[in-house]
């Protein structure tokens, strides 16, 4: 019973964490000195959740994270959610094909997630005519965007993992990996 309660609590705590991240991202990381970083903390959370959550819980969380991002952005409804879900899908495939066991491989996956996110964004934005002239600045800032994802992947993963450990989700996730149970 306690375990289930913790699990539900974890779900809401992840959403609250994402709200805090989005607040941080839209204020502190937009200061003139840091704005070049183009860091997307929510994307890192999405990558982590894709690796450590089951399908249903993961997809639900990512849809909510997408909505959190959209209400803190001028983006049209659905575009950021679709991009995050594309990253989720890509990581599910990657998990099937490669072993993602070390922190380094997780970091590489975060950077790859950044590339998938950008590609998904370009495709959707082009399709719906909202790309306009923004592709140029997007490409200009691509390198700092990917580097910042790589740099911040570990601390963000550790933070979410500590949250998972406190709410017993991480143990379950590890057990699932050890037993080879399907996600």
């Amino acid at each position: 019973m306690i375990h289930e309660l913790y699990r539900v609590l974890n779900f809401f705590l992840v959403i609250v964490l994402c709200l805090l991240f989005s607040a941080l991202q839209s204020v502190a990381l937009k200061l003139a000195a840091l704005s070049w970083l183009e860091l997307d903390l929510l994307l890192l959370v999405v990558v982590y959740l894709s690796l450590h959550r089951g399908f249903l819980e993961g997809s639900l969380l990512i849809i909510m994270i997408g909505r959190v991002a959209e209400i803190h952005s001028g983006a049209p409804t659905g575009i950021l959610t679709a991009c995050y879900l594309a990253v989720f899908l890509a990581i599910l495939f990657t998990k099937e094909m490669f072993l993602v066991a070390t922190t380094f491989s997780s970091i590489i996956l975060a950077v790859a997630g950044g590339i998938v996110w950008k590609i998904a964004f370009f495709v959707l934005a082009q399709r719906y005519g909202i790309l306009g002239n923004s592709w140029r600045s997007s490409l200009e800032y691509m390198l700092p965007f990917l580097l910042s994802l790589g740099m911040f992947a570990r601390p963000v993963f550790n933070l979410v993992r500590s949250l998972d450990q406190r709410t017993y989700v991480e143990r379950e996730s590890e057990a699932r990996e050890l037993t080879g149970e399907e996600f």
Binding site: L19, V27, F55, S59, I71, S73
Partner: protein, 322 residues
């Protein structure tokens, strides 16, 4: 077949999940959706955090600056330095208040000639996604801010309100790639459209190749569309590129407003220009004059005295901002 579907059911389901927001995007158009209950709840959590983070950063930065000023004094006399630190901290605090007062005073003076509703607001956050250029301000419908209003700063045009919550509103800045504003070159009144590039600069488009555009030319709003009053500064030309072929030229513009250091803005709702009102009145009167002719009885009735065309003097155009 069933086995394949069963094996890949999660991927198929995720694909469906990706398609759902795409359909939402298709149905919702290019505009972000208005706030719903989940959005309002989420903003109720994140907006105070945004305000707090901003306050912490500003206070820390002021304290750090004050501390750095004091490092040399400390080595000379610790006691004196302690007193100095306190005084300098106070001075820094007063200076900050004085600067804010000066900014607000300048903003009030700047706003005075503008007609219509005006709401002064503070910028509390920027867009969470690097691909879009929205800013969030601390005034909403409770303060009279509504979607579609224009937003300006002391330096010039900032953008327009795209959605308004009770306490907060989102402003689509000029820098966003979906932003466009009709503009004039102040020097020779050549018209074009200023569009955002998604980065830190703008582009002025639809200028003919033969139009005289020079680096340093000031660009002001044309007033067409009725959203922004005529003559507000938009930016300055920083580069002009003319190709050997084609009918247009590409002009790069740096915005007058510094979006990285934007603190206070004014939301304005300019009243309809008298000329537009006159035109609307004339149209209504013409419509009213037509009404008796379309009488169900079929008899041609004489136009009422009200239907006589009125000639209203068009007002002189507002002076352009210098």
């Amino acid at each position: 077949m069933w086995n394949i579907i069963k094996e890949y059911r999660h991927y198929l389901a995720t694909l469906v999940l990706v398609i759902v927001p795409v359909i939402a995007l298709n149905a919702g158009g290019k505009r972000p959706a208005d706030f719903h209950w989940f959005d309002r709840a989420a903003i109720a959590v994140s907006a105070p955090v945004q305000t707090s983070i901003r306050w912490v950063i500003e206070t820390s930065w002021d304290s750090l600056q004050s501390y750095l000023l004091l490092l040399n004094t400390q080595s000379n006399n610790r006691g004196l330095a302690l007193e100095n630190r306190k005084l300098l901290n106070e001075i820094a605090a007063f200076e900050e208040v004085a600067k804010e007062n000066a900014r607000l005073k300048a903003l009030v003076e700047f706003n005075a000639p503008l007609e219509g509703k005006k709401v002064v607001a503070q910028v509390i956050a920027q867009d969470v996604s690097p691909e879009f250029r929205m800013i969030r301000i601390n005034k909403g419908t409770r303060n009279g801010v509504e979607a579609g209003m224009a937003v300006i700063s002391l330096e010039g045009v900032v953008g327009r309100v795209i959605r308004a919550g009770k306490e907060f509103s989102d402003v689509l800045s000029l820098l966003d790639s979906s932003s466009a504003i009709d503009a004039l070159l102040q020097r020779n009144r050549v018209r074009g459209v200023v569009e955002g590039l998604g980065g830190n600069s703008l582009a002025m488009k639809y200028l003919r190749r033969t139009d005289d555009v020079q680096e340093g030319d000031l660009i002001v709003s044309s007033g067409i569309g009725g959203l922004f009053p005529k003559g507000l500064t938009i930016g300055k030309v920083i580069a002009v590129k003319k190709k050997n072929f084609g009918i247009s030229q590409s002009v790069e513009v740096v915005p007058a407003a510094d979006f990285n250091r934007l603190e206070e803005v004014t939301v304005i709702d300019p009243p309809k220009m008298p000329l537009e009102i006159a035109t609307l009145d004339d149209a209504k009167e013409k419509e009213a004059a037509k009404q008796p002719k379309q009488d169900s009885r079929g008899a041609k009735s004489a136009p009422s005295p009200k239907a006589e065309p009125k000639v209203k003097a068009a007002p002189a155009p507002a002076p352009a901002a210098q």
